[in-house]
């Protein structure tokens, strides 16, 4: 299947500031990809270039097989980061208007709009003015405007921001449903847990440069901290003594929990079996880094790499790998 989005060597500058630098991205058709990065990293600029709202200074963008998203706008649903509605327009009129701009025919349009409004718990606001809706409701309204025409490609810029947990879950389910329908989805977010739960693949951008582009499994493998978390059954057990076991580099207490660092060459299942034999555990697990940890790790490493140079790399070896990612 052809790729839905192909970005090659794209650079965009605003005056002296380089917003996006030599950026590459390929999103396969039908994929659900998370696009993460700190504030000002270049996510929105990249998305706007994909949408042909902004145009790159260098490089090429291809969307759904077209050289410009302008040629495929009817097949794209876009939820921008800065959400807005016509305040004085009624909800139904607003959705009709956007649908018509997306090339939808009038026949059956109202029925489809009403169905979506019901689905989003907005059934009773169709005749209300947009300004009468709460921020969360306006956001749901915009999501409807984004998916009403059943696009092949959904680009969602921070779709979860400002939503309460119930609506966040509703939106997550809807995104998954759209993906199951066959839509390719790329969404940017700061809520890492959402990216972890939703995405098979994550792309991270920092200071305009791509620093991560992997499947979730590969990311976890790459950023494996090689730490075992242990909570002994007997709180008085000599956990410090485990330091003598082969494959264990260090032991550190963290409240009720102990963090056991493994050497690079150790085999985690073997080490865990040895630990269990030595001290019966109430709980023992191989620590899995969260995407948030990885995000913070990469961003911090990038900052320290720029500020502190080599010294920080020597004292914090676990950041070396991330720093290499950033600069490599």
């Amino acid at each position: 299947m052809a790729d839905a989005i192909v970005v090659r060597g794209v650079t965009k500058t605003f005056g002296p500031k380089v917003a996006v630098r030599d950026f590459d991205l390929t999103v396969a058709a039908g994929a659900l990809t998370g696009f993460i990065g700190p504030n000002g990293a270049g996510k929105t600029t990249t998305i706007r270039m994909i949408m042909s709202i902004l145009f790159p200074d260098q490089g090429e963008v291809s969307v759904l097989g077209h050289r410009s998203a302008l040629d495929a706008k009817d097949r794209i649903g876009y939820l921008p980061e800065e959400r807005g509605v016509y305040k004085k327009m009624k909800v139904l009129s607003f959705l009709r208007y956007i649908a018509r701009l997306k090339g939808m025919a009038s026949h059956g349009l109202d029925a489809r709009i009403k169905k979506w409004l019901e689905r989003m718990d907005l059934g009773d606001v169709a005749r209300k003015k947009c300004e009468e809706l709460s921020k969360g409701m306006q956001q749901k309204l915009q999501f409807i405007a984004c998916v009403l025409h059943e696009p092949d490609l959904l680009i969602l810029d921070e779709p979860f921001s400002g939503l309460d947990p119930v609506n966040m879950r509703l939106l997550r389910d809807l995104i998954l449903e759209q993906n199951q329908r066959g839509a390719t989805i790329i969404f940017s977010t700061h809520v890492m847990i959402q990216a972890e739960q939703l995405c098979a693949r994550v792309v991270m951008i920092h200071e305009g440069t791509k620093v991560l582009d992997e499947s979730m499994g590969a990311i976890r493998a790459k950023f494996d901290p090689r730490v075992v978390l242990l909570e002994p059954l007997d709180a008085s057990a000599d956990v410090q003594g485990l330091q003598t076991l082969p494959g264990i580099r260090g032991v550190e207490r963290d409240g009720e929990e102990w963090r056991l660092s493994l050497t690079e060459s150790s085999d985690p299942p073997t080490v865990i079996r040895d630990i269990v034999n030595a001290i019966p555990p109430a709980r023992i697990e191989l620590h899995r880094p969260s995407l948030e940890d990885i995000f913070v790790q990469i961003v911090t490493a990038a900052k320290e790499g720029l500020q502190g140079g080599e010294s920080s790399r020597v004292t914090r070896p676990e950041h070396e790998q991330a720093a290499e990612e950033v600069h490599g």
């Binding site: 706008k73 876009y78 959400r83 807005g84 509605v85 956007i98 701009l101």
Partner: protein, 462 residues
């Protein structure tokens, strides 16, 4: 194309369905109706009748008698009739025809009556030569102007009628009036004293006042305009007002559409809905749709007002006052002028974050649009002069200038009209080109509002 239509349609509906627009459309005719119908009614609520006395201390012995005759109610009523006839004579024929048989003529007379107020009754009291002026003045502070008390005291100078020996000039008079005396009464008293004193002076000089009046009066006359089509009485008022009327109509329609496009663009940008729109249409489609939508808003306004004007002219059989081809040129010139201003306004709207920031960028545009107001008088006076001719080819004011000239009594040659239209189209194209570039870059620029240098940079960037 379909998308441009939907954008234009929304823009049009969103504007014409607002209270502001409906009120804006209805207020001017309502004001005119108010002036024609309600004002006379209000003025008919005449000021209270004034009765009282005018005390005169007259050492000459000549003024009291004359003033008594001057202030007689019959004499005052006669003078009012003369004044009304003078007003009627000064009214242009077309205006007189316009008001004849509509009740407006009667309304005009009643307005005049109201302005003049009810004829006052003023008795003249001669004060004794040795009267104490200070104690006489006290009467001015008692009662009111309506209760028959004293209204004023006139103290005639002894040399008011005959010069003092060796003096080159005459004396005059002093006038003491009560508080809040109606100025029309004071004016009547002053006019009476002046007339009476002059009469006395003329008589004492052995001359005849009527003869002097006859000798010094030359009747005003109206010029006759000679054209190829024949001769007609020159109508200076209509010659000046008609071009101004057309220009105001054009300016109003252009400004309404221009202002609205600015407002809606700023609103779309500040409410961030613009990015949603840009995901569905290109900036150029968005701008074109908006411009076309507001163009229709201006056209609606133009049709309503021009239609009302034509209906009025037809009703009063005055359609011959205007060249009907103007009604064809008016929308053409409107479209050109609107595209020029509208696209600049769209660019400004896209460049700023909120309306308050737009003021700095709008000022030169608005000032340019005000130029025709400043040029109205000189161009109407000399519609085919060098100045008017040159201004006809300088966009963006050329559409207004050529319309002023076309609606004047000396229209320009047709080649100038079409050249002005071509220059206007070129100007509008230039404005659209500039606006499209600023619009595309500016729409997603937030933060510090740009200055003109920034706009130029954006044009280069786009």
């Amino acid at each position: 194309m379909n998308r441009i239509f939907w954008i234009a349609w929304r823009e049009f509906l969103a504007t014409v369905s607002t209270k502001g627009f409906i009120i804006g459309i209805l207020v001017p005719p309502a004001l005119i109706g108010f002036m024609l119908v309600v004002m006379p009614i209000l003025f008919n609520d005449a000021p209270p009748k004034i009765e009282g006395e005018l005390a005169i201390l007259d050492p000459t012995g000549e003024v009291v008698e004359g003033m008594t005759a001057y202030l007689e109610p019959e004499a005052m009523a006669r003078r009012r009739d003369d004044f009304k006839q003078k007003i009627d004579a000064a009214t242009p024929d077309a205006m007189r025809r316009l008001t004849a048989g509509t009740g407006s003529a009667a309304a005009t007379q009643s307005v005049l009556d109201a302005i003049l107020g009810e004829t006052p009754r003023i008795d003249v009291l001669r004060l004794a030569a040795d009267a104490d002026l200070e104690s006489e003045k006290k009467a001015l502070t008692i009662g009111s102007a309506q209760d028959g008390g004293r209204l004023a005291i006139a103290v005639i100078h002894p040399d008011a009628v005959e010069r003092s020996t060796g003096s080159p000039s005459f004396g005059s008079y002093d006038l003491f009036v009560r508080e809040k005396l109606d100025d029309r009464i004071e004016d009547a008293i002053k006019a009476g004293l002046r007339e009476t004193i002059i009469d006395s002076r003329v008589r004492h000089s052995g001359l005849d006042r009527d003869e002097i009046n006859a000798l010094t009066h030359v009747r005003r006359t109206k010029s006759i305009t000679v054209t190829e089509a024949g001769e007609q009485e020159t109508n200076e008022v209509l010659n000046m007002l008609l071009p101004a009327g057309f220009m105001i109509l054009l300016l109003m329609a252009v400004m309404t559409g221009g202002q609205q496009i600015l407002t809606t663009t700023v609103e779309e940008k500040s409410s961030r809905v613009v990015e949603v729109l840009l995901s569905a249409v290109s900036p150029m489609q968005l701008m074109t749709g908006k411009i076309v939508g507001q163009l229709c808003v201006g056209l609606v306004m133009l049709v309503i007002y021009a239609g009302m004007g034509v209906i009025a002219l037809v009703s009063f059989a005055l359609l011959g006052l205007i060249d009907l081809s103007l009604l064809i040129y008016l929308p053409i010139l409107y479209i050109i002028a609107y595209f020029t201003l509208g696209s600049l306004m769209a660019a400004i709207g896209a460049a700023v974050n909120e309306m308050s920031e737009a003021q700095a960028l709008m000022t030169p545009v608005i000032l340019t649009m005000m130029v025709p107001w400043i040029l109205w008088l000189p161009i109407t006076r000399d519609p085919n002069g060098t100045f008017a001719t040159v201004a006809s080819f300088i966009p963006p004011i050329n559409t207004f200038v050529i319309l002023l000239r076309m609606s004047s009594n000396s229209p320009p040659p047709m080649w100038q009209v079409w050249l002005a239209i071509l220059v206007g189209i070129a100007g509008a194209y230039g404005a659209l080109w500039f606006a499209a570039k600023v619009f595309r870059v500016g729409l997603l620029m937030f933060g510090k509002p740009p200055n003109f240098a920034t706009l130029i940079r954006w044009v280069r960037m786009a």
